[in-house]
Symmetry: C2
Subunit: 556 residues, 2 copies
């Protein structure tokens, strides 16, 4: 492909498409690179839309500007990037035999020939079954969606909102509607908890408390059965309940936009997205695909996965340009790292959940750590809660979830590097980190997470934080003042601070003991000691703190 | 070693020694684990000392407390950990034939027998040649050093300070003396710039500006030839200069405390520290070592390295306990990640500097990125400067240095995972990260760093930010208002904003062009385009911003 003049047509001026087009124009300046985009405006950073709604970002145009302030419009791409972007040009059919794209441009139909075709058609907001068109029931996927809602908010026509879907976008919108505008927000999630697919139930409880702490009403495990609309508002039927609001925003995920690919005969995966190989080639000759419309290879499951993430789309666009230019670049398997801000609480996760692992038949096990993001004596240290999912026996890392007021996103990035390389507990236990008290404890909570799991493999079992304590024989190894401040809430509790445990006589009874403390550290130590004395004991993973919202209000 | 009762003696109640002793007591509760410590107080988090001086931490005792508030004294270790710590017990000789430690305890001499001996003797503050004992010339290594200086500050007897040494501790102390106490601080560094061994010269310039911006006077490339003391103060002779102050604090590094090991016949490495294998075994039978007194294996150079870091000491202590308990744990090679806070500027680095790489004969090359720690449109986005050192040709990652107001420590941790696994530019280019606008751009600056280096391997050469521009033929591809706000400072400058470059006629002249912009992004694009037209051009790495202190005062 080198040297000669080639015509590359990219369908879709999104992150993947534009990134690919611009790099290709740089690598092969003699080639003709054209991007066809069905919409009139394009190249907005879609992930920033919730933050325009929330008022964090002043104006939507900021999402279309480079860091140097240039607006990314057709003139910009032509002059700066040497790329022709044709907006308002919808490709409705692809003729792979003759290498022609059939395009609707306004009232006209035109044909565009190509040597290589790149499908970067992105994804579209999923709708509820039977969801009609109505001004009060909308998605949140485009600048138009944003503009409509923003207008309603500034005019004070929107004061009550039902959010259908408690995934990443639903949670971001909960903050956006609540923090600046003070709306009454009801978040409805069909799964048993918010952020399913990102967090397991115990971590979702922590995230859910962050939302509820800011006045968001969560209705989990419930379907929105119907939304009735009128000029005055909407009424959502949710199980036996009914919630009245001014608008309903449907954020139940996105589907890959694959109509064009399917009609052209490209193979689609089980997820519905376009199958590509590691060069991002589709199953059709000279047809490639990148971004939210493709399936990636998941590093943990080895299976195809639909992960519509801007970070992956950008990397795929660049990778595909390299491939088209004849380079050896390959798009590697991914761990599926994500992050989301819930008010002042940070959430990040990578790999798969325990729930997912069990679904695909892996012997998954959990470990929890309630730690600090910097040295615990550092005055600005913030609490973070970590959840590790690993494969019992092999110790393979399957996923990590992190929630808290402190730094979690980059810790998740660190683990991601291990996960994509098949890392194990031993690797995580020896994770090297740049240490100074303002940035991390001397042993990072990530390493401690591995220690907890290794100890668990030794038989020091941490029970899920959700374990009911009412009927258990509980040994509380905290100091009396801690026990008073945060009572165990169980009838059968023996108090024995860790420092007195060794000296204490045997605890009576034959039932297994559940040992508890604040963070699961001292109780795990106690369990090891008790077991060495032949006493059957386990401890409460993450301690009693994991059952309450992490943060300074607990007097940390 | 399993099962039977063994006597383990640990010399030194530091991070490594105590971590080892406590875990061993947990893993082998029937063993007798004794820690002998020459000092009377112990188990303080030494890395926190500067932050007690600075007032960030209220009282030194905080450094001796667990996160649950317990003071780590002898009673604590006995009751909670089942470990006997004997403070004020100095081991002065080791008889490896008879497995006896000879100990001075007050006026008494005693002998302690052992089956396994662990040397965790730590490191001691290095002194200047001929440095005597004087109240006004001290190190900063122990709580006593801290207490003396803190007393002088609270009594307002210390108002002017000479810091000898601009390494990690010297820089932390500069902040400590300056921020709360407002002292006049002169930092003297014999190398050409601050933080030698951590940062290369261009990055040290950025860090140095952070210190100078807060009023610290830096004298780099200069030796303190003599310090004269009197009752009234000190006078430091520095080259032809003389600086008067109330105290001089010597922070020229630490030496491993290896007297005991050397006298016992243990092999020492070229660095002077104790040689251990990956099990942390010394060359003496049944004698082990961990912490600041040992040499580690460097992941980049493959050689032994003396890296006295609390993070490594803690991990080694745990690892050694595992080994002694008969487990398969091994201490892996390290990249030497470090971090340090300079007022509101964060500094972190991993791997080796370009300077170090060149010294050991590697074909090192630099790449720079001036980026943001979150999406550039996120209102709280902060600027960070990254410097990558890689091996030309192979693309192997040798080191990363990061400085800025934004998040850098955990980004360095991400790269560390690649470096210890022999990662290359391709790995860094495909580094997966958890993306949401508050936490990172869609393409993390780390990936962009790899892109810049890959482009450089293509011939798009970024010249060092320190390149003199006065005599160069410069092409400025910024907008006119940018050029006005931050002029190039060269006589021969052609202004041609990137968007007009393609349309412009050939730039005259045959001399090589140096293209400049704000961050090195647009100028690199211009270079690629110019080269495709046969024009010899390179660009200024990191752009003109890298020459000024990153931060919001530049109107970002």
């Amino acid at each position: 492909m080198n040297g000669e003049r080639r015509r590359v047509v990219v369908v879709g001026a999104s992150a993947a498409g534009l990134r690919c087009a611009c790099r290709l124009a740089r690598l092969r300046p003699s080639w003709e690179v054209t991007v066809l985009e069905r919409r009139d405006t394009f190249s907005w950073a879609a992930c920033g839309l919730p933050y325009v709604l929330s008022g964090d970002i002043d104006e939507a145009d900021a999402l279309r500007r480079t860091q140097d302030g240039a607006l990314r419009d057709e003139a910009y791409f032509a002059a700066v990037k040497g790329v022709t972007v044709l907006a308002g040009h919808e490709v409705f059919a692809v003729d792979t035999a003759n290498r022609i794209a059939r395009v609707r441009a306004g009232l006209q139909g035109i044909e565009v020939g190509w040597d290589e075709l790149v499908l970067a058609t992105g994804a579209r907001a999923r709708k509820l079954p039977g969801q009609g068109e109505h001004a009060r029931v909308c998605s949140f996927h485009t600048p138009e969606d944003l503009a409509r809602l923003h207008r309603g908010l500034t005019r004070r026509e929107i004061n009550r909102v039902v959010l259908v879907g408690g995934g990443l976008v639903g949670c971001e919108l909960a903050e956006a509607f609540r923090s600046l505008w003070g709306c009454e927000v009801t978040l409805v999630e069909a799964a048993g908890h918010v952020l399913p697919g990102v967090l397991d139930v115990e971590m979702a409880a922590v995230a859910g408390r962050a939302l509820e702490g800011h006045g968001v009403r969560i209705m989990a495990g419930l379907q929105v059965d119907a939304i009735e609309t009128s000029d005055a508002g909407i009424s959502a039927r949710i199980g036996d309940d009914r919630v009245e609001a001014d608008v309903a925003v449907v954020a139940v995920g996105v589907d890959p936009a694959v109509g064009l690919a399917r009609r052209a005969g490209a193979r689609l995966g089980a997820s519905g997205a376009i199958v590509v190989d590691e060069r991002l080639a589709t199953t059709l000759p000279n047809v490639w695909a990148a971004g939210d419309c493709v399936e990636v290879r998941h590093a943990v499951t080895g299976a195809g996965a639909f992960l519509p993430l801007g970070s992956l789309a950008n990397r795929q666009g660049r990778c595909l340009a390299n491939v088209l230019a004849g380079r050896a670049d390959r798009f590697p398997p991914v761990a599926g790292a994500v992050a989301v801000k819930l008010f002042d609480c940070n959430v990040a996760a990578t790999g798969i959940t325990r729930d997912h692992a069990e679904r695909v038949g892996l012997a998954a096990r959990s470990a929890w750590v309630v730690g600090h993001d910097s040295a615990h004596y550092w005055p600005e240290a913030k609490e973070i809660v970590l959840h590790l999912v690993y494969e019992s026996g092999s110790g393979r890392l399957l996923g990590v979830q992190a929630v808290g007021d402190g730094e979690v996103a980059k810790r998740v990035d660190v683990v991601t590097q291990l996960i994509v390389r098949g890392g194990t507990l031993d690797d995580l236990a020896h994770v090297e980190h740049a240490y100074a008290p303002p940035y991390a404890p001397a042993l990072d909570p990530l390493a401690v997470l591995a220690f907890v799991a290794q100890n668990q493999e030794d038989g020091i079992v941490g029970r899920p934080p959700s374990t009911g304590l009412a009927d258990m024989r509980v040994l509380d190894v905290r100091h009396p003042e801690e026990s008073e401040a945060r009572p165990v809430g169980s009838a059968d509790v023996v108090l024995a601070p860790l420092e007195s445990l060794r000296a204490a006589s045997q605890t009576g009874g034959d039932d297994p003991l559940l040992v508890v403390c604040e963070r699961g550290t001292r109780s795990a130590e106690a369990v090891r000691w008790l077991r060495s004395r032949g006493i059957d004991a386990s401890y409460l993973g993450g301690g009693l703190r994991l059952r309450s919202r992490p943060g300074s209000e607990d007097g940390e």
